[in-house]
């Protein structure tokens, strides 16, 4: 069901854990549906003076695909400018992993969302806004996930 690359990423995940005093934190997902992601970022500057993701860590509660995509996303995002990072989309993540099963595509949406929230959180804080819009539902809520896959139970 999973590609070799997904399995490799799952087996050797990168950037898992947390950053103390992160510059931005994005919490997405829903433990009700079985996936939860917290993305921590530290922001720095590159030589051109652009803001980049200097460090990134992720904490994930979820399935194989959730773990693999969150790991993959962090390695992709690390070192990117914030604007570049915002352009990472679900297709790009899935492509890096040689694809995801259709019913697991939401996992890459989730990690993409997590990164965007973290950047948003950082920018909000910087702009002096106190809190990100926590209650805004994540794009990867259960509602997107009910399409029945190649199910089984035995």
């Amino acid at each position: 069901m999973y590609s070799e690359k997904v399995l490799k990423e799952f087996r050797h995940p990168k950037n898992l854990g947390k950053i103390h005093n992160p510059d931005g934190l994005g919490k997405v997902g829903n433990p009700v549906c079985g996936d939860l992601l917290w993305i921590y970022i530290k922001v720095g500057k590159n030589k051109k003076g652009q803001e980049i993701i200097k460090d990134i860590k992720v904490k994930t509660f979820g399935c194989v695909a959730a773990l693999a995509t969150s790991s993959k996303l962090t390695t992709m995002a690390k070192g990117m400018t914030l604007d570049e990072a915002l352009k990472i989309n679900k297709e790009k993540i899935a492509k890096e992993l040689d694809g995801l099963p259709p019913q697991k595509m939401h996992c890459s949406v989730l990690s993409m969302d997590g990164l965007r929230r973290a950047i948003e959180d950082y920018r909000n804080k910087k702009a002096g806004r106190i809190e990100p819009s926590k209650k805004q539902p994540s794009r990867s809520s259960c509602r997107h996930r009910n399409k029945k896959g190649n199910g089984k139970s035995n």
Partner: protein, 405 residues
């Protein structure tokens, strides 16, 4: 790498003795059992002898055994075709909330086709309430379908009593015995069963073979139409090696049942005891004992997700399952765990070990060596832990906390 298979509820290896029994029917006695010539008659004899073996094992008559392609087909014939053959009498069926998808989805299909279904709830252990059954079954009820043993948490339902209620009220009683055949003693007469489904690959028989018991006199019609095989109920050239293998496997399972159950129960207890040493863990389903299949251990672990555990275990050579469809392919949390009242978030942390003939105490030791580290590793990278407030993610969420065991 050492490989330890603890997913016997999903499927079992073919017993070598079973393959030996099947062997002559691959290219010696390979005839079509409906043919008149000697190749046909020797195949027919094997089929009918197998039918007798199966009938004897469940105290039925040979004419009441119909060979099918497996559990799903047996469930579908039983439910759909009792419904369609008896729709004039009433359009109400009764089933439980913890059935296998083969029953659940079939009942849902009937709901869409104009039938009414009542879905029986279960208690914390997964047991159907007999009072509720009595209330649910009315004069309009044509069929009650409650499984004998649950595939996820191993609960053994009180089918004798359910069958009795059905007899009294004049409803046909079907039981999905896919998980129990060969593991629990079955007597269709004493148990008041009208229809019973079984699948050979769950008891060391071949995949692609199953049977349906239909009590004589039961009004039913075929699901598939054709040459009129199996007394018209199941057309299609008989899978002779599969049928022979099913019967051989059942015969062996019956002979070894009690001894093997006792052996597996000891191992299950050992596994359970060791696993519960991990904190924030619990057993799903009834305590190990007469209410539970002897080979089933379904555990819950807070803060981690089942599929990830399964894959990490697999990387250590251990085959287990989440015990539910949710994390393997579809995405809903297990309807069985939901039905026993487990909060949503806890359903995702379930892990089913199902033991089998090959399982040894050493295997269990190996698992108990690997499991704590895997849970720990996943917990370390999980944002959840005791006391973390996850209510911000969804209004209706339950708080994450350790569950008593």
């Amino acid at each position: 790498m050492k490989r330890i298979y603890l997913d016997h509820a999903a499927t079992t290896p073919l017993d070598e003795r079973v393959l030996n029994a099947m062997q002559p029917f691959f290219w010696q006695k390979f005839g079509n059992a409906s043919s008149v010539h000697s190749f046909g008659t020797e195949a027919r004899e094997a089929v009918e002898k197998s039918r007798e073996t199966v009938a004897k094992a469940i105290n039925a008559r040979p004419e009441e055994i119909y060979f099918t392609s497996g559990g799903t087909e047996s469930d579908n014939i039983a439910i759909l075709e009792i419904a369609y053959a008896n729709r004039e009498r009433g359009k109400h069926i009764v089933t439980s909330k913890i059935e296998h998808h083969a029953v659940e989805e079939t009942c849902k299909f009937l709901e869409k086709d104009g039938f009414m279904a009542s879905w029986l709830g279960v208690d914390k252990e997964g047991l159907v309430d007999l009072g509720e059954v009595g209330n649910a079954v009315t004069g309009k009820t044509i069929l009650v379908s409650v499984m004998h043993a649950n595939n996820e948490i191993g609960t053994i339902e009180p089918i004798v009593e359910i069958g009795k209620i059905c007899r009294e009220k004049g409803a046909f009683f079907h039981t999905d015995a896919v998980q129990s055949v060969g593991k629990e003693k079955i007597d269709v007469n004493k148990m008041n069963i009208d229809l019973l489904s079984s699948s050979a690959h769950k008891f060391y028989g071949p995949k692609g073979a199953g049977f349906l018991f239909v009590k004589e006199g039961t009004e039913i019609q075929p699901l598939m139409h054709g040459g009129g095989h199996e007394r018209g109920l199941r057309s299609g050239t008989e899978n002779v090696p599969g049928i022979v293998g099913l019967a051989a496997a059942l015969e062996i399972a019956e002979k070894e049942r009690e001894k093997e159950n006792a052996r597996e129960r000891i191992l299950a207890k050992k596994l359970l005891k060791g696993a519960l040493g991990i904190e924030n863990s619990w057993l799903n389903g009834p305590a190990i004992g007469p209410k539970r299949l002897s080979n089933n251990v379904n555990l819950g672990f807070d803060f981690v997700e089942g599929e990830s555990m399964v894959l990490m275990l697999s990387d250590k050579g251990i085959a287990a399952s989440t015990g539910s469809a949710c994390s393997s392919k579809s995405l809903e949390p297990s309807h069985v765990l939901r039905a026993i009242g487990l909060p949503h978030v806890k359903c995702h942390g379930s892990l089913r070990f199902s033991l089998g003939r090959g399982t040894t105490a050493k295997d269990i030791d190996y698992v108990l060596g690997a499991l704590p580290r895997i849970v720990e590793k996943l917990r370390k990278i999980s944002p959840l832990r005791k006391g973390v407030d996850i209510s911000e993610f969804e209004e209706d969420i339950e708080h994450v906390h350790g569950h008593e065991h």
